[in-house]
């Protein structure tokens, strides 16, 4: 049996594979000069020398899968774009990162926006598009500045603009700031929003590959998916496939947050476990232990300590009853009330439900009413079955996955922590002190931070 120490010390250099994050610690990492010093725009040069269909085949063979949550093979998405149809094709990058717990695309775009711009050049060449859009959530102005600057630099360097795609013609990229709506992270709602409408999901089919932006063939990809393409083109699909597993190859950003000693971004091959990441990251904050965690944002069913060794790839997490999602590892320790956590997430879904589909709009509202009562000690035991019943009536019954996401924390928390819900009801109060969960709870100066925590 290896100890945590042995694993941790052996692992740091071997386990982590910084590619996208490789030079985030360099001065002015967001500039085109620093990006090119680290191999930037070599991948796009290689891709532009290839036929578009060959680029699609290459990305498909690399095995790259979507990093936005669903894990759909990126190359296959590109392949769905009909060719020779006489319509304009569009690439739309989903930079609306808003899933609770998810915090990978924003630091990526802040420190290394050119990886996205270069990836878009390759993707536009492949799908024969002359116009790409970056739909960035509006609430991140520092990132918007750097994206605007990066696109301007790429124009100035000739990577964008007139003749940027050679025989493929011009390439324009428009940076578009959203205006505050989680639902716009759903690809068809994003397209409606980008067309200047309320962000409400569309019924599918037709899928965006057939009728997307302005009813034209459109690829919608996550930031990290596109940003991963230049390195694949530059260093080779074989290099990429050496990392991760057969079905989930490559590197990815894992975002560790919450009650951990060292929260942050950890770029590693797909398939690492939370235990390995915690070993590297200094574990749970001192004096506490893991209670529950999400593998990929609040919409992915929660895990407990029994899942510490689940490989964090698409298959591994799926087999364990959740989804890899956005690899947003939100970690909560034993001071956290699971009812409080789920209530707050549910309030989020109710707030962000776009209102189009009745099960989601009404269901999330009623979930919030029940959960607030339970958290406040005013619930009834029968409410727990009612929660599960309402969640069941939302799950899979709306146009998009927001409703499914709202049901996930309900189902999974009832599965693992039903007794804790029951305690709220039978004791007619929440048995937790929220002050003990705060970052400063163990500082020793806050009145509510008892020495008991470290005893």
């Amino acid at each position: 049996m290896t100890t945590a120490t042995e694993r941790g010390e052996a692992g740091a250099e071997k386990l982590l594979t910084p590619v996208l994050s490789e030079f985030w610690d360099k001065d002015k990492s967001w500039t085109i000069e620093v990006y090119r010093d680290h191999g930037g725009y070599r991948g796009s040069a290689k891709a532009l020398a290839m036929a578009p269909d060959d680029v699609i085949a290459y990305v498909k063979e690399s095995g790259l899968r979507g990093r936005g949550g669903a894990g759909f093979p990126t190359g296959m998405k590109w392949q769905f774009i009909p060719q020779g149809d006489g319509k304009p094709h569009y690439l739309v990058v989903n930079a609306d990162e808003s899933e609770p717990g998810t915090c990978k695309d924003i630091p990526l775009l802040y420190a290394n926006p050119h990886s996205l711009v270069e990836g878009m050049i390759i993707a536009c060449h492949a799908i024969r598009s002359n116009h790409g859009f970056i739909y960035l959530r509006g609430e991140v102005v520092p990132v918007l500045r750097r994206l605007q600057a990066a696109v301007a630099e790429a124009y100035a360097a000739g990577f964008l603009g007139k003749g940027a795609l050679g025989d493929g013609g011009d390439l324009d990229i428009t940076v578009h700031a959203g205006a505050g709506a989680y639902i716009c992270g759903e690809e068809t709602a994003l397209l409606d929003s980008l067309e200047g409408r309320r962000g409400q999901p569309r019924l599918r089919p037709p899928f965006p590959a057939i009728a997307g932006l302005y009813a034209c063939p459109t690829v919608v990809n996550n930031v990290e998916s596109i940003a991963s393409v230049p390195a694949i083109m530059d260093r080779g699909k074989e290099w990429f496939r050496e990392m991760g597993s057969e079905k989930s190859p490559g590197f990815t950003l894992y975002s560790l947050s919450g009650h951990v000693a060292r929260p942050g971004q950890y770029e590693a091959p797909l398939g690492v476990t939370l235990r390995q990441l915690l070993d590297l990251g200094g574990g749970i904050r001192p004096g506490h232990r893991l209670k529950f965690w999400t593998p990929g944002g609040s919409s992915t069913p929660m895990f407990t300590e029994e899942h510490l060794d689940v490989p964090l790839d698409y298959e591994g997490v799926g087999a364990a009853g959740s989804m890899l999602g956005t690899k947003a590892l939100q970690v909560f320790d034993e001071t956290t009330c699971v009812v409080r956590a789920v209530t707050r997430w549910t309030e989020f879904y109710a707030h962000e439900s776009c209102g189009k589909c009745t099960p989601c709009r009404e269901g999330t509202y009623w979930l919030v009413q029940l959960l607030r009562d339970i958290e406040a000690g005013k619930g009834l035991l029968g409410d727990l079955d009612k929660l599960a019943d309402i969640a069941d009536n939302i799950n899979g019954k709306s146009f998009c996955a927001l409703g499914d996401g709202a049901a996930s924390p309900i189902f999974s928390s009832l599965k693992y922590f039903r007794a804790e819900y029951e305690r709220h009801i039978t004791e007619r109060a929440c048995p937790f002190d929220p002050a003990k969960s705060t970052v400063w709870a163990d500082d020793g100066t806050t009145a509510s931070a008892h020495q008991e925590v470290n005893a």
Binding site: G178, G180, Y182, G258, D279, T438, A455
Partner: protein, 285 residues
């Protein structure tokens, strides 16, 4: 509060004065030119009119409708859908405290509660001096920096109750405030103009905040061997649950002497009365 209209038809909103309209029309033309279809410019144009008046007025919506050939009803439907469009006069500084689950648990709830008491305003309300509008916000994609406070959509990471109070005090006093990640705070209207797609012209604005925040570099530093790896913390003696992680704690050592204590969160200003400076905010020139 939102006015109750009782369903009575309203007279058309007054237009902008000619000089304002001419200036905004030139801006609008630039925005519209970025898109194959003019209606795509609606969200940026709503940011643009918000940069003119600080919130989206009926006049602003009429301007957008005229610029894009839409009805004011179509524009209103969009303006009321998105949470970043302010529909009433609001402060120069939009202060948002993340109270989604993770930030809330890590201290966001306490910060939001204390700020409401400190400022004497509730959610979505503005201080009497017109400086600060306080609201709770949803996840802002900075969970590894929790608890997070946003001011005009710039990041103030790893906040405490004390640092957040100091932050709003400085904003109200007119001091230059610098975020953890982002450019020195400008007023809300200038921020709205950046969101409309007009880059921040201030020298150094893009570079401000450095390449990446400390948490963003956590894994990179480990991979480069710059930080000693830590260990999974041992649960308290006697409380150890049975489970597959049992081998993670080889000696059940007491947490107080745990080897990862060295990189535990450092005491912040909240716990150090000798240090009046917030951990993340500072005054500029």
């Amino acid at each position: 509060m939102t006015e109750v209209s009782l369903g009575m038809p309203q007279t058309p909103a007054p237009p902008y004065p000619d000089d304002v309209r001419a200036r905004l029309e030139a801006d609008a033309a630039e925005v519209i030119a970025r898109y194959p279809d003019s209606r795509s410019a609606l969200l940026p144009l709503l940011h643009l009119v918000q940069s003119e008046e600080g919130h989206v007025t009926r006049t602003g919506m009429r301007f957008c409708a005229d610029a894009l050939g839409l009805t004011t009803a179509e524009v209103t439907a969009v303006a009321t859908f998105y949470s970043m469009y302010r529909r009433k006069p609001s402060g120069d500084y939009q202060v948002g405290v993340c109270t989604n689950t993770l930030c809330a648990v890590m201290g966001g709830d306490e910060i939001f509660g204390e700020l409401q008491a400190h400022l004497g305003v509730g959610n979505g309300e503005t201080t009497a001096d017109g400086k600060v509008t306080l609201e709770h916000i949803e996840c802002n994609a900075a969970c590894d920096f929790a608890p997070v406070v946003m001011v005009n959509w710039e990041f103030f990471d790893n906040q405490t109750v004390e640092s957040a109070k100091q932050l709003v005090d400085q904003l109200r006093a007119g001091a230059q405030v610098t975020p953890t990640r982002g450019a020195p705070i400008c007023d809300f209207r200038k921020t709205a103009r950046i969101l409309a797609g007009f880059p921040d012209e201030r020298p150094g604005a893009v570079a401000a905040g450095g390449s990446a925040g400390p948490a963003s570099l956590a894994g990179l530093r480990l991979a480069k061997g710059e930080t000693a790896p830590g260990r999974v913390v041992a649960p308290r003696a006697g409380e150890r649950p049975a489970g597959p992680d049992a081998d993670a704690q080889p000696d059940g050592r007491a947490p107080a002497t745990h080897p990862s204590s060295h990189d535990a969160p450092q005491p912040s200003a909240a716990s150090d009365p000798e240090n009046p400076t917030g951990p993340v905010t500072k005054e500029g020139e």
